[in-house]
């Protein structure tokens, strides 16, 4: 089993780094090539969400990304925002997406969650075990 941990200041510029590392570790773990685009997108969405929450709450704590390959490829993205902010995710129905009254933030959040739910079969969003924050846990199979 191998574990790779990355923690980064909650700035948009670092989300790309997290995506690159996440895909590199996925490839090394044996995740199928045709799933790597989805891995890249999902890790990016989870990190984007975490960065947005830290900025919304003025938190300077780093965002944690932990990748492990114990029989499957598991990625945890951990934020430190108040839990009530993180759990209430919902996908938006099509007729609301272009609604004039929908704010850009609400749209991006809804679309981001639709992408996570759509691309990750094994997805959990739950409070962290200790302290304040939310963990997005995503799992992909390894092997061919």
């Amino acid at each position: 089993m191998a574990t790779v941990r990355l923690s980064f200041s909650p700035a948009p510029v670092h989300v790309r780094t997290a995506r690159l590392v996440g895909v590199a570790v996925a490839r090394r773990a044996g995740v199928r090539e045709d799933l790597l685009d989805e891995v890249r997108l999902a890790i990016g969405e989870a990190c984007t969400r975490a960065v947005a929450l830290h900025r919304q709450y003025g938190l300077h704590d780093p965002v944690l990304v932990e990748m492990s390959d114990a029989g499957q490829y598991a990625v945890r993205v951990v934020d430190r925002a108040p839990i009530e902010a993180g759990i209430g995710l919902a996908a938006l129905p099509p007729d609301e997406l272009a609604d004039e009254s929908l704010t850009d933030e609400a749209l991006t959040t809804g679309v981001g969650f639709a992408l996570l739910a759509g691309f990750v079969e094994d997805l959990q969003v739950r409070p962290v075990d200790e302290g304040v924050g939310t963990e997005v846990r995503m799992v992909w199979p390894v092997g061919r």
């Binding site: 989300v15 969405e45 997406l97 004039e100 991006t108 959040t109 679309v111 981001g112 992408l115």
Partner: protein, 118 residues
């Protein structure tokens, strides 16, 4: 790959060619460029995603913002995209039901029924 943006005109349409990665870091530049075009008088805008190799929810949010702005100004907005990974993103988010999506710029311009069709 960094974001690249280039503008050209096809008849009444302003075509914005986007390349590279559109994500939470680069999407603000795309938003700025679209606002510049619309504020500058462009009313029929086609965004060509042909050279985009990554697009996330932030980028999609910017595109929806431009669509709304142009619709309320009586204009039109369409996307050009023929890459399956990107098309899947539009399907999963149901945004394929919101945006006119076309495989080529010619198809996008030809399909415009707002009075600016070529």
């Amino acid at each position: 790959m960094e974001l690249s943006l280039a503008t050209r005109t096809v008849g009444e349409h302003t075509v914005l060619e986007v390349g590279g990665e559109v994500d939470v870091y680069t999407a603000p530049r795309l938003r700025e460029r679209l606002l510049e075009l619309i504020d500058g008088g462009a009313r029929h805008v086609v965004v060509d995603l042909g050279r985009v190799d990554f697009l996330d929810s932030t980028g999609l949010g910017v595109l929806v913002g431009a669509l709304k702005r142009l619709r309320s100004a009586g204009g039109s907005f369409a996307l050009v995209c023929d890459k399956e990974p990107l098309l899947k993103i539009f399907r999963i988010t149901a945004l394929d039901q919101v945006f006119p999506l076309h495989p080529t710029v010619d198809a996008a311009v030809g399909a415009d029924t707002t009075g600016a069709g070529a």
